[in-house]
C-alpha cells in the first residue's frame, strides 16, 4: 500500500510536460512552427544533445513520482494504515540498495576498504591499525586485493553485452519505425541509416544512445556491489547523490523559466506596444529590480522563507515537503530576478513590430489591442522567447550550484550538485585528498550543461531569422 504524494514542484513539472506535449500537438499542423524544429533535428549535434538531455529528463521524471509507503502493521491496529513520514520517489525504489548501503565514512571509487585507518581487532586478538573492509563495497570478494580488477571487468563486460543487446533492439525498432513511415524496405532503410543518408541524423542519435545505454548498464551492474563513485563523509554513496541531484537541477532550470515567462512576455509586449505611462511604469519596474544585487535579494528571500518554515511546522507533513517548498521558492525568486533581460528584449522587439505594416493594417481593421498583441506580436517574438529560454537553462543550473555553495540555495537535505560541491570544499584540503564528490558533481553537471548549450546553439541557429538566409 502506498499513498501518492504530489509535491508542488512535481505538479509544476507535470504541467510543464503537458504544456510541451500540447504545443507539439498544436505545432504539428502549422508549418511555420514545425519548420524550425525540423531544422533543429537536422543537426547532428542537436540530436546527440537531445539524447543526453532525454536521459537526464527520464531520471528526473522517475524522481518526480513521489509517494509514502505504508508502515507494516501488527496486531489490533491493522484496520488503520499508517504511512511513513519519509517520502520516496520511483527512483528511490530502484536505487534503494544504493541508499541503504551506507558505509562508515569516506571510501574511494571502487574501493573495498575505507579511506581512513581504524583500530581493529584482528582474528588473533591483536589490535591492528589498518584500513578496514567496507561493509558493502566489494563485500562479496573473498580476496579483495587480488580479485577486484577481474571482478569489475567481468561484471562490466557482462553488463555492456546486455546493454548492447538492448541497444540492438532499440535500433531495430527505430529503423522499423522509419521504414514504416516511409513505406520502404527494412534492409534498405537500415543501409541508409547506417550510411548516414537520412534527413534527421538517426545514425548519430543511435550512436549516442548506444554509448549511453552501455555506460548506464555497466554503471547499474557495478553500483550493485561497489560504490562506483565512492562514498562521502557519512558513508553515503556519491553516485546515488549525483543521480538524485539531476531532478533538482532540471527543476531549477525549467520551473524558473516557467515563473519568469509570463512576466517577461506580458510586460515586455505591453510596454513596447502600448507605450505611454504603461511603458514608463514597466521600464521603471525592471530598471529598479535590475539594480538590486541579485544574490542579496535571493539570500534575503530564502532566509525569510526559512524562518517562516521553521516557525510554522504544522503546515508541512513531511521533511520532503519542507525541502520542496524551499526549492520552489528558490525557483520563484530566481525567476523574479531574471525576467528583466528577456522583458527588455521583447519590449524592443515590440517597439519595432508595432510600426510594421501588418500591425498597422490590423489597427486599420479595428482589431482590438489585446488581439493585436496575441495574434500579431506574440507569434512574431516567440523565436526570441525560445532562444532565451534554452540559453538561460544552463545558466540557471550553474546558478543553483553557486547559490547552494554560498548557502542560500536549496535545502541542505535536498540532494543537489551545489550541496555536493559545498560539502566537498573542505575535502579538497584534506590529506590525502578526497576528490570524488567534487569530480562526480562536476562531471554530471558538465555533461548536462554542455548538452544544453549545444542544443540551444542549434535552436538559435534554426530560429534566428538573421542567421537563416541562403
Amino acid at each position: 500500500m502506498i499513498k501518492p504524494v504530489i509535491l508542488w514542484t512535481d505538479a509544476l513539472v507535470y504541467l510543464l510536460i503537458a504544456a510541451v506535449i500540447a504545443f507539439a500537438w498544436y505545432a504539428r499542423g502549422r508549418e511555420h512552427l514545425r519548420a524550425p524544429w525540423a531544422r533543429v533535428l537536422e543537426s547532428r549535434i542537436a540530436i546527440v544533445s537531445l539524447v543526453i538531455l532525454s536521459a537526464y529528463l527520464a531520471v528526473a521524471l522517475l524522481d518526480s513520482l513521489h509517494f509514502r509507503p505504508a508502515l507494516e502493521q501488527r496486531g489490533e491496529q491493522a484496520q488503520e494504515t499508517y504511512y511513513s513520514v519519509e517520502v520516496l520517489s520511483a527512483l528511490d525504489v530502484i536505487a534503494r540498495p544504493l541508499k541503504e548501503r551506507a558505509e562508515k565514512t569516506y571510501s574511494a571509487p571502487f574501493a573495498t576498504r575505507l579511506y581512513a585507518r581504524e583500530a581493529m581487532e584482528g582474528p588473533d586478538g591483536v589490535t591492528v591499525w589498518d584500513y578496514p573492509r567496507l561493509r558493502h563495497g566489494g563485500a562479496h570478494l573473498a580476496d579483495p586485493d587480488a580479485g577486484r580488477a577481474g571482478d569489475i571487468a567481468r561484471r562490466a563486460l557482462g553488463a555492456a553485452a546486455a546493454g548492447g543487446a538492448l541497444w540492438l533492439l532499440l535500433a531495430a525498432l527505430v529503423v522499423a519505425g522509419i521504414a514504416r513511415a516511409r513505406a520502404e524496405g527494412f534492409t534498405s532503410t537500415l543501409a541508409r541509416v547506417a550510411a548516414g543518408r537520412t534527413r534527421i541524423p538517426w545514425r548519430a542519435g543511435l550512436f549516442a544512445a548506444g554509448l549511453l545505454i552501455v555506460l548506464a548498464a555497466a554503471a547499474v551492474r557495478l553500483a550493485g556491489v561497489y560504490h562506483i563513485l565512492g562514498t562521502d563523509q557519512v558513508g553515503q554513496d556519491v553516485f546515488y547523490q549525483a543521480v538524485k541531484s539531476i531532478r533538482t537541477a532540471l527543476v531549477i532550470g525549467t520551473l524558473t523559466t516557467l515563473v519568469m515567462l509570463p512576466f517577461a512576455v506580458l510586460l515586455g509586449i505591453m510596454a513596447g506596444y502600448l507605450r505611454g505611462w504603461i511603458d514608463d511604469l514597466i521600464q521603471y519596474l525592471y530598471t529598479t529590480l535590475n539594480s538590486i544585487p541579485g544574490v542579496l535579494l535571493i539570500a534575503s528571500a530564502i532566509l525569510m522563507l526559512q524562518v517562516y518554515i521553521d516557525t510554522h511546522p504544522e503546515l508541512f507533513q513531511t521533511d520532503a515537503e519542507r525541502a520542496d517548498m524551499r526549492l520552489l521558492f528558490l525557483c520563484l525568486i530566481l525567476g523574479v530576478t531574471s525576467w528583466t533581460g528577456l522583458c527588455r528584449l521583447l519590449r524592443g522587439e515590440a517597439l519595432k513590430l508595432r510600426e510594421v505594416e501588418y500591425v498597422q493594417a490590423a489597427v486599420a481593421f479595428g482589431v482590438t489591442r489585446l488581439r493585436i498583441m496575441t495574434r500579431h506580436l506574440l507569434p512574431n517574438v516567440m523565436h526570441i522567447v525560445l532562444i532565451t529560454v534554452v540559453l538561460d537553462f544552463s545558466g540557471l543550473v550553474l546558478a543553483e550550484a553557486v547559490l547552494s555553495y554560498v548557502g542560500v540555495g536549496v535545502d541542505p537535505s535536498t540532494e543537489s550538485w551545489g550541496n555536493m560541491i559545498n560539502g566537498a570544499r573542505l575535502e579538497m584540503a584534506r590529506e590525502p585528498m578526497v576528490w570524488w564528490s567534487l569530480a562526480a558533481a562536476f562531471a554530471f553537471m558538465f555533461t548536462l550543461v554542455l548538452a544544453a548549450n549545444l542544443f540551444s546553439d542549434a535552436v538559435r541557429d534554426a530560429f534566428d531569422p538573421r542567421l537563416r538566409g541562403g
Binding site: H32, Q360, V367, T368, N380
Partner: protein, 680 residues
Amino acid sequence: MNEPLLRVEGLRTRFETRGGVLHPVDDVDFDIRRGETFTLLGESGCGKSMTALSIMRLIPAPAGRIVAGRVLLGGEDLLSLPEAAMRRVRGKRVAMIFQEPMTSLNPVLTIGEQIAESVRRHRGLKGAAATRVVLELLDAVGIADPEQRQREYPHQLSGGMKQRVMIAIALAGEPDLLIADEPTTALDVTIQAQVLALLRRLQRERGMAILLITHDLGVVSEMADQVAVMYAGQIVEQSARAPFFAAPGHPYSRKLFESLPEIEKRAQPLAVIPGAVPSLARAFTACRFADRCDFAWQTCREVVPRWIRVSDAQAARCHLLDAEAIQQAPEHAPRPPAHLAQRQRTPAPVAPLLEVDGLKVHFPIRHGLLKRTVGQVYAVDDVSFAIGRGRTFALVGESGCGKTTIGKSILQLIRPTAGSVRFDGEELTTLHGERLRRRRSDFQIIFQDPFSSMNPRMLVGDIVEEGMRALGLEPDPARRRARVEALLDQVGLPRDALRRYPHEFSGGQRQRICIARALAVNPRLLVCDEPTSALDISVQAQILNLLQRLQDEMGLSYLFITHNLSVVAYLADEVAVMYLGRIVEHGTVDEVLGNPRHPYTQALLSAIPVIDPSARREVIRLEGDLPSPARPPSGCHFHIRCPHATPQCRTHYPAVTRLGASHTVRCFLYEADDAAEAGC
C-alpha cells in the same frame, strides 16, 4: 579603340540553396569599351547584380561559385588571378557603388576618413597629400564646402549626399571601370537627376567606362550607349541605345515598353506579361521566355534560340529573328491582349466622399530627462482636398514630404493635430473607440512593401478574413470562408492560396492578397500608399490593371500616394503635388502634368528620365535636398531651391492662386495675375 576594356565570355555562376542549385548567371557574354556606358536592364532576380558581383569576384562563398567563363580586363583574366592580386584590382581598376547608400558607409567614421582610406590604399598617398585628394574628390562629386563636409559623419548627410560620397570613394582609385548597381533606385527623382548628371559628367571628364545596372527604362534611355536586357540569368538582347528604343528586338523587351504606364494609355488596360519569371533552379532546354511570350510556337518550347544579329548594333536571342526557325512557325498574328475595352472614366465631379480640411499633423520633438517638447516636426501643415466617389486622387511628392502621414491620418492611424477629416459627411477626427471601429470598414489601406504588410505567421485565409472577424461583418465561419474564396477569385489568385503562408507568394501576388484583405470589409475608399513601387514593371502593370478593374466594378475611390508621376498620369483623375507638408499645386491630371505652373512641379516633371529622346526636356536642376520638416525655411518652403525666388518668397508663404476651374497653385509668380484679374 577596338579593343574592349572589359570582355566577359561565357560567364556562369552557380548558387547552392536549400531549394537546389541555381544559375543566376548562365552563359553571359558582353564587351564594354573605354568611356562608354553599358547598361544591364532587367527585373529583380534576373541575375544582373550577380553578374556584377561575379566580375568583381565578390560572390558569397561557399554557396556561390563561378563555374565557367572568362572576365578579361584589358586582356588579363580576372577569374584566374590569385585573391591577393584581385584585391589590387578591386577599387583600383574596377570600382563599385551600390543601391543603398545608407548602409554602404561606416557610421562611426567621418566621410573624410573613409575616402582617405581608399586614397591611401590605391594611390599610396598619406597625410596632407591624401587630404588634398579627398577634398578634390568631394569637390568633383559636387559636394559644396568639402573642407567642412569631410569632417562630418554619414548620418549628417542626406541620401543623395551619401551616394555622392560613395562615388567619391569609388573614384579614389581612378578606376577604368565603374560598376553602379541601381545607384539611384533608393533616391527621389530630383536627386536621381542630380546623381545621373554627376555620373555623366565624371565619365566625360575621366573617360571611364560605366557598367550601370538598372530596372528603369528611363534611366537606360538617359545614360546608355549600349543596352543589354537580362532575363532569367541570360542576356536576351543587346543593342546600341538608338535601335533598342526605336525597335526592341526581343518580345520581352517589347513587353517591357508596353507595360509602362503612360498618359496616352489612360483609356485602356496596360499590357502585362502573363505568368512569372521561371525558377532558376530548373534546367532550361528551350527558350526561357517561351511560357510568357505572345508569339511562342512549338519550336520555342523545344529548341534553345540562337544568338541572332539583327544589325551591326543589335542582336537578340529569339527564334522570331531566326530566318530558319521562323519558316516552321505557324502563320500567326500576335495574340490579342486579354481585353482592350475602353474604360469609361467617371465623368464630372460628384459629391465628395472624403473631405480633408486644414489638416495638420505635428510630431513633438522631445529632449532631455523630463522629455520636454523642444520643437515640432511639421509633417503635414494645413492641407485641404476632397475626393469624389469613384474617383482617383493622387498625392505626389518626394520622400519626407508628408504624403504617407496624410494617408495614415485619414485612417486615424495617426491622430491629426488639427483640421477635419469628413467621410461621407461624418467627422472622423472626433470619433473614438467603438464608433470609430465600426466606421473602419469604409476606408482601408494598401501598403508599399508587400513583404512586411502581412503577418508571416498567419495563413493567407486568416489574413484576408481578419478584418471581417474584427468588425463582425460575417459571423458565420462557412460563409466567411466562401467570401474569402470569392475575394481571391476577384484579385486573380488560386483558391488554395488561403491555406498557404504569405512567404510562398511573389511580391505581386502578395500585393493582390493585400488588396483582397482590404476589399474584404467592403470599403468605399482605398488609400494606396505606393502600392507598386516595390514591384517590377511588368508586375506593376498587373496591379494597376487590377486596381482599375476594381474601381470600374465596385465604384471605389482611391487616394493614391506615390512618387511615380507616370503611374499618376495613367491612373489618376486629380493630382496634388506636395512639398514639405503642404500642397503646392492641385488640379486634374491634364492641368497639372500637362501644364505645370509651380516651379517645383516643373522641376519634378523635368527630372523624370524620359524614354523618348525627342520628348526630352531641359532638366531643371534643383540644388540641394528637401529641408527638414522640423525646421522649415521661412516664407515659401521651396524658395531655397527655387530658380525664380524673389525677396518676397523668403518672408511670406504664398496664398492659394486659382488658375482655372480646378487648377490651383501656391506661388507668388501667379498671385499678381490673380490679383490683377480680381481687380478688373
